[in-house]
Amino acid sequence: MERAASMSGTDTRPPQRAVHPLYVRITHWINALAVLVMIGSGWQIYNASPLFPFAFPKSVTLGGWLAGGLLWHFAAMWLLLGNGLLYVTLGLVTGHFRRKLLSIRPADVAGDFGAALTGRLSHQDLTRYNAVQKVLYLGILLTGAVIVASGFAMWKPVQLRELAALFGGYEGARLVHFFAMVAIVLFLVVHVVMAFLVPKTLRAMITGR
């Protein structure tokens, strides 16, 4: 009670357990770093042979040129993969995913989506995700799985031939990898904007409360 009061003079609600357990906060920020390196270096690699008639501005790419971009990409992938596996394992084992994400009801999604668009979505209780958050967080987890799988398919289209075939071969995996990146970047824009619109969510991801 004292702690809640001392952190926010207007917050008189009873004390809550941590919004995010420690492992979620640590893996979240490691993931944030890994994803930024993967995107910046990935854009560098993209620019060497653009799939579409545009290139990413050099100022937002990592590595200086193709070799540097590749070195960053194939180093940060281990961080992304190891950290991601740790997060997913703990999320499954502790029941975190089941409690926080899989408790979606279709009616809530429609209702909360409407509320979100009209700016009436409540962020009072950070320990519970609204239905829009559940959908987006589940979606980004799936997108993460797709971008890692398509990345491995591009990296090892011969040794992991069956995996590559799932994406329609090397060139198919390349397209899937690109559009998964687009989905992640769009998610990041919404995610970061929301974090600044509701700053206590940012605080909760750092301090846990």
Binding site: L33, A48, L66, A67, W78, K156
Partner: protein, 258 residues
């Protein structure tokens, strides 16, 4: 010749002399992370010196060697790259090199000799006529460039493993190093050299290998990225010491397996 101390096992340094200058430790080739300029959000988060200084470059190279190790373990010597029907061949097949197409070296076929060296029993150089007389196979496979694009082509030539046996190569050695007419070089692991689809290529699309695709001989390996497939090969050495290669010394991952 300073580097020859690393070339034990009676390797003729003269064979690799074109390469020697390139293989010398040279500070100017360790700057691939320069000119990064602004790095956007990441630079703001962590500070530039962490990102593109010499220490990060050293660390990234250590990870790259770790990735060599991982890839060597992932490599299945019996796994074949996908073969395609003739209808899948990419036409026109793209030219790509570190020089412009008109700068591709003109190799005189009458004076051409393939010099073989290192851990082998028979050092006799090979003329083109002798090479053409070897049994040949054809493959239609996908060449994947480190830049990201790929193209399907048709290559005909002799499996490298047959040639290595013919010259009495020590097949337990670690590396095979290739030297090209204009100075390019590349080295590969022995398991890849012995892979069924690794080929000394003499023909492209049923025609004698054109200059732009590496006349008179290139090494084709569909289990590695395009830059590991050297053109205009004039020398081959079986070695136990790591020799890197043109692009590898500039930062590309050495194993670069597919």
């Amino acid at each position: 010749m300073r580097r020859s101390n690393g070339r034990a096992q009676g390797v003729d340094a003269g064979l690799l002399i074109k390469d020697a200058a390139k293989l010398l430790p040279n500070p100017s080739r360790r700057v691939f992370l320069r000119n990064t300029g602004s790095l956007g959000a990441l630079a703001l988060l962590t500070g530039c010196d962490i990102i593109d200084g010499p220490s990060s470059e050293r660390a990234l190279r250590v990870v790259s060697r770790f990735n060599d190790w991982v890839q060597a373990r992932l490599f299945n010597p019996n796994r074949l790259a996908e073969s395609y029907p003739a209808s899948a061949i990419t036409r026109p097949f793209p030219f790509n090199a570190y020089y412009a197409e008109e700068q591709a070296p003109d190799v005189d076929e009458d004076r051409y000799k393939l010099v073989v060296d290192g851990l082998i029993e028979n050092r006799k150089p090979w003329t083109l006529e002798e090479l053409y007389a070897l049994p040949q196979e054809t493959q239609i496979t996908r060449l994947i460039c480190i830049e990201g694009w790929s193209a399907v082509g048709k290559w005909t030539g002799t499996p490298l493993r047959q040639f290595l046996r013919r010259i009495g190569a020590d097949l337990t050695a670690k590396y095979v190093h290739f030297v090209c007419a204009e100075g390019y070089s590349v080295s590969i692991d022995m398991p890849t050299a012995l892979h069924a689809q690794t080929q000394m290529t003499f023909k492209f699309d049923d025609e004698i290998l054109p200059t732009k695709f590496g006349f008179p001989m290139r090494i084709r390996m569909p289990t590695k990225l395009g830059f590991k497939n050297p053109k205009h090969v004039v020398g081959l050495a079986v070695l136990n010491n790591y020799t890197g290669g043109y692009w590898e010394d500039r930062g590309y991952n050495w194993f670069s397996g597919l």
